[in-house]
Amino acid sequence: MAERILLSPEDIRRALVRIAHEIIERNKGARDIVLVGMQTRGVPLAKRLAAIIKDIEGFAIPTGSLDISLYRDDLSRRPLKPVVHPTDIPVDITDKHVVLVDDVFYTGRSIRAAMDAIMDFGRPRTIQLAVLVDRGHRELPIRADYVGKNIPTSRSEEIKVYVTEIDGEDKVTIVTPNRGGAV
Amino acid sequence: MAKLLIHGGHIIDPSQHLDITGDVLIKDGKIVSVGDTRNTALHDADIILDASGMVVSPGFIDLHCHLRQPGFEDAETIATGTLAAARGGFTTVCCMPNTYPPLDDRASVDYVKQLAAAEGYVRVLPVGCITKGRRGAELVEMDELARAGVIGFSDDGEPVASTRTMRLAMEYASRLGLPIIEHCEDKGLSQGGVMNEGWVSARLGLRGIPAAAEEIMVARDINLAALTGCRLHIAHVSTAGSVKLIRDAKKKDIPVTAEVTPHHLLLTEERVMGKTTGSNTLAFYDTSAKVNPPLRTCTDIKALVEGIKDGTIDAIATDHAPHTLVDKLCEFDVAAFGISGLETAFGCLMSLVHNKQINLMVLISQLTCKPARIIGTKYGELGTLKTGTPADITLFDPNREWLVDSSNFASKGKNTPFDGELLKGKVMVTIVQGEIVHKDEDIRVKRRSRA
């Protein structure tokens, strides 16, 4: 297995700043925005976006977290330790712009589950999606509104996102399986 | 009748203190010679059994088994039960009277004897009830039953709860010289219990039967035996305390004898938690280990083995208790008590020999001459290879390993905690009155054809 760095801490920071500006621009200001980070690494990313938006616009926007374990369509494909992380939606989302924040956008199934979950909390005006990395291979007709970086990948590869709040450092890497014989 | 030669076996006969290699010759259903090594009969015999590598012993005698017929034929019949006995090496079985109707009158006893003569593979000696209907109140016509052929009296399955009734039964029976065989259980203490009272019953949330329930009755009955002079035989002893009481009674020459089952010598209460006894919780509440008296503790097993060695215990009896699947495949509280033991008895007991807990001669005496002494000679001199006695003989391979598969049992009762166990020691041939009633598929018999 070979792991190669694609995004450095600076790259990540710049991407998040750009996304924050795009969110404000698209929604004509930061009013009525609720950021919801997808467990687990989407959560610290959402918090960082909220901090950047606060710097720009001058007020705090509500930020929550969402665990989609209970909304997945694949009860059978579970990790060895099926932990259900906290879900916390701190405000009424009805009539708000809910911006889901996730680290990697892949097949789209997690986002579908997230939308089902959000609908159970109320009736938002819009649901938007911000992702740090889009690696392609969509299996459902779902698109991201804000993308940090497009990284085309093959299915055998893996994108790994590290965030300081959880992993102690910031970086995005790609892991490629070794071909037979190659080192 | 044909001449049957058992050739070249290791002959062990505790009744004659015999432990030699040689031939046993049978003619007209009787033993003609034992221990000949000159091969003179080889030319003479009609049937030759090659017994090399095997032990030749008197046929085993089971003092205590349940054949269920009449009344509970779905669980067992005399035919299936005696075939099971034959496979287990038993040439004589004493069947308990808790049938339906119970064996409390001459007609029932005659019925069993007729059926046994017509369909039985081995000798069936009946035991009569002590009280009518086993209700513990009125005595049966003991003299009439004695004449019908019972070898003793028992309400087995139930104790005789009333001390007065037990005293009267013993006084009345003492005239006949036949034993009262008691299932010792104080129902006041055992009521509702389904396994031994101890840490396992505490853990499993099951009501227990304390050792005291047996010991109190043993003590009571020994006292009555001393008072009346009647022979007392204690069925299926299971506790160390009982062994001690019996030992002390024998020292005082009180006429008491005792038997123990193979399962009480090998298994403890932990077997209720399954074969791995505790590590696999899914195996808990194993009804194949539900038996009365219940499986007890290591301490009790040690005392029972000591009892065999020092003669406190006289015989090993199977208490073969077959049950239908329905009666065992249910909640532990509701399941029937009992183990189907005729076909596994010998293999299980051999583990005690292989573990050097008792020696082979002692084991065989517990299965042959000692139970024969308790039965008496009403049916001939059994449990021995003495010349002139009935040719009831068992051949076994003490080292042969075999897997217990209850689905292959001759008995209708597949209820055994030994299912799937690998046992070392197998009965290969069983002969009753000179006839081969069981033969392992690996045994070849040479028959001489006569013109």
């Binding site: 209970l70 099926p82 | 949330g205």
Partner: protein, 336 residues
């Protein structure tokens, strides 16, 4: 590798290093005697997430959509059955409740036949309460559906013990070295037995207190085999309850006096009732718990039952979240 597997891979990196077998091993939940510390912790974390769902406006998630949960109660029960049914419905499972006291059992159908019929109808999980100890074990051996034990005879009540642990954690945090006192009819109590296993696994000390005739014979040998230092038996309530962190009186069934196990209710109350004077001997913040239903005035005085230290009602609420967690974890394991 699709996104589900990638998420799984990502989640794995948060788990214990070197983990290669699933933390959650249970296809059935029969008792807590085979639960590892990690599994109980996992139930606690999952129950917390479920408790959050129960706070929402829409108290429902689709996790068990398409699964059928059948509750089969051979013994009457209101709270446990309702709790399990609510838990199953909150996870979007289809639920069927069978009252075996009235159904084919009275026609003489055996336990296994009834269970096989239920399985043939498509039950994925069977929640079972039975009056005989061990009944769910027979079921688990012969049925492929998952069995969750909602109480078997005197033996076990794992979901009750788990919700008790959950409740204590919420108030007192880590259970390590906490003194938990269980008072009353230990002999006939499946709640007591499961709590002994569960609490000791979490590191707590357990004191069992009751009249000698209501303690199981063999108890001393049982606890000395498994927990020689952690579990003790006491017949005097004042000694048992001193400095307790948690006090749990058990319901005294009136039949116990009728069957002669205790001379009178009056004497039981005098010796063993949890009243204010006795509660004062425990720690000032000690929790008062009860598996319910209570006999106020017998094992617990009304004042104590209504006191601020009582978390008895909260136990019921927590019960739904804990049972949701069990259903969720068992449903996932079945497919693995």
């Amino acid at each position: 590798m699709n996104s589900a597997e990638q998420t799984a891979r990502a989640a794995m990196s948060e788990t214990l290093p070197g983990l290669s077998t699933p933390v959650w091993q249970h296809h059935h939940v029969l008792d807590l005697d085979d639960f590892s510390r990690e599994e109980i912790d996992l139930v606690m974390e999952t129950a917390e997430a479920m408790a959050e769902v129960l706070q929402r406006e829409v108290k429902r998630v689709p996790a068990l959509r398409g699964k059928t949960v059948v509750t089969m109660f051979y013994e009457p029960s209101t709270r446990t059955r309702a709790s399990f049914e609510l838990a199953a419905k909150s996870l979007s499972a289809d639920t069927i409740s069978l009252d075996a006291t009235r159904s084919s059992v009275t026609k003489g159908e055996s336990l296994l036949d009834t269970l096989r019929t239920i399985q043939a109808l498509g039950a994925d999980i069977i929640v079972m309460r039975h009056q005989y100890s061990g009944a769910p074990y027979i079921a688990a051996r012969h049925i492929s559906a998952s069995i969750i034990n909602a109480g078997d005879g005197w033996h076990a009540h794992p979901s009750q013990a788990l919700l008790d642990i959950y409740t204590i954690r919420r108030h007192l945090g880590d259970l390590a070295d906490r003194k938990v006192v269980i008072i009353g009819d230990i002999m006939h109590s499946r709640v007591a037995r499961s709590n002994i296993w569960g609490m000791t696994t979490m590191g707590a000390r357990v004191v069992l207190c009751g009249p000698p005739t209501l303690l199981p014979p063999g108890l001393k040998e049982f606890i000395s085999r498994f927990w020689p230092a952690q579990v003790t038996v006491e017949t005097e309530i004042e000694k048992a309850i001193k400095d307790a962190d948690v006090v749990m009186p058990l319901r005294l069934q009136l039949e116990r006096q009728q069957s002669g196990l205790i001379p009178s209710i009056r004497e039981y109350i005098r010796l063993y009732q949890l009243n204010e004077d006795r509660l004062a001997l425990a720690k000032p913040y000690a929790l008062v718990m009860h598996p319910g239903p209570m006999n106020e005035g017998i094992e617990i005085s009304p004042a104590v039952a209504q006191s601020t230290q009582s978390v008895i009602e909260e136990q019921v609420t927590n019960g739904v979240a804990v049972r949701m967690a069990l259903l969720y974890l068992v449903a996932g394991r079945k497919n693995n």
